[in-house]
Point group: C2
DNA sequence: GCAATGCTTCGATACGGATCGAAGCATTTG
DNA sequence: CAAATGCTTCGATCCGTATCGAAGCATTGC
């Protein structure tokens, strides 16, 4: 009895350490060259080439060629969601990981997930927006209230420009917090604004997002944690 | 750069066809013996034994021994969720599957997902409950309204008995519908009631759930599709 | 135009892991 | 108690796949 989609092939694609590392690196939402991905995975370019071919054929990544540079990115947020899902379960076995390094803490605190904010900060933001009724959960998805529209516009988000993007808001399950953070076009726009305002920046060699002192203050003011409303 | 939990090991566990088939078989929420799982995967008992050992060590399945029979079940709903997530992505590559058989249609229509109802029927039920404000989405999860409590009690669900179960309601992303259906203790109780009332039964050799004509009528009456409110 | 660089393809190698027959242990049944 | 049954372990085999050096092709920069 083989029922439903064939998950073994898909899982096997992710199940190679080199490929898993490359996919993880692409979760930041940025496109990386074949060479960069080879270095991420600690393998030669020729090995990376054959791996990337497999991921491409499996539709996990997409290619954009610029001259001799070949940029690969995740094929879409659905891929990122599956990877987060796997991380959530694998994280539950975290006791089995030989070393919980400082990087894990910074990832849990704030990290980029397909261009939007994840981790404790990501969940804090989402919760706050919901609590203040700026975002509203409906059976058809998440909508932005009029107050929410005014709020994010005041933060510098060009909502009209985002309207064409679907979905505007997407509920993205956070592997470290086991709760949702905000994905979708609005989630991406909000992170971009934080970067533009200098509240936070992306780490150079990690998916972690680092907030400045001022950025933390501004963030907490904009998205107050529970109990500070 | 190796960030976050190690997903490759977990994915590799799922990435073997035999193991994937066994995990899929366990998604019904029932426990199966080692022999039954061997037959599910089309391998010998000795091969199954070594596979099951790996899944056990990987904490994807849990063992309950009864004499010489060893019953294995999924370790929890988190595992089921990951499998559904993989199915969703793999299903998006459905064009690549060599044969879309009649079974896929029946699975899409109604199937069991870790003991609760999934597929079109599952999503219909969830949407209906939300639309009628019997379930309410809150930032802290899904709650049952007073009207919802009365409703499910009238259906025969012993809510008091479920109160100790956590979570009572859980939003479970449906791979075939790309929307959520209702998991958690209430989701399981509702499916059990449908079975008890004879509205529907589980297929013998599949995760598909088959509704009787009367069951369809009763189901649509209890959980009217959009437009029939 | 040539050298440097990025990337893919080819071919060979080595390793890991799925597989099953045989054997052994535990439980159940008559 | 003996036979049947369920399951695990052992050992051998074979296949698939990741890997990298070498070679080739395409692009870029001087």
């Amino acid at each position: 009895m083989k029922e439903g989609p064939d998950i073994s092939h898909l899982a096997a694609l992710i199940g190679d350490p080199a490929r898993a590392n490359m996919l993880t690196a692409l979760m930041s939402g940025q496109a990386l060259t074949a060479r960069e991905l080879a270095m991420e995975a600690g393998i030669t370019p020729q090995t990376a080439s054959s791996h990337l071919k497999k991921l491409q054929e499996g539709r996990l990544i997409a290619l954009r060629q610029q001259g001799r540079h070949r940029y690969f990115a995740l094929a879409g947020p659905e891929v990122s969601a599956v990877l987060e899902s796997l991380m959530g379960l694998a994280g539950g076995m975290g006791q089995r990981r030989s070393r919980v390094g400082p990087k894990d803490a910074s990832l849990r605190h704030a990290r980029v997930c397909y261009n939007h904010l994840a981790g404790q900060r990501g969940v804090q933001m989402y919760d706050s927006l919901l609590r203040q009724d700026m975002l509203v959960l409906t059976p058809n998805g998440i909508t932005v209230s009029p107050a929410g529209e005014a709020f994010v516009s005041a933060l510098g988000v060009d909502l009209a420009g985002l309207r064409t993007a679907r979905p505007l808001c997407r509920d993205c399950l956070d592997w470290s917090e086991r709760r949702s953070h905000l994905g979708g076009a609005l989630g991406r726009a909000l992170l971009a604004q934080m970067e533009a305002k200098g509240w936070a920046r992306r780490s150079k060699d990690s998916r972690a997002i680092v907030f400045t002192s001022e950025g933390k203050r501004q963030f907490d003011r904009a998205f107050p944690p529970q109990g500070l409303t």
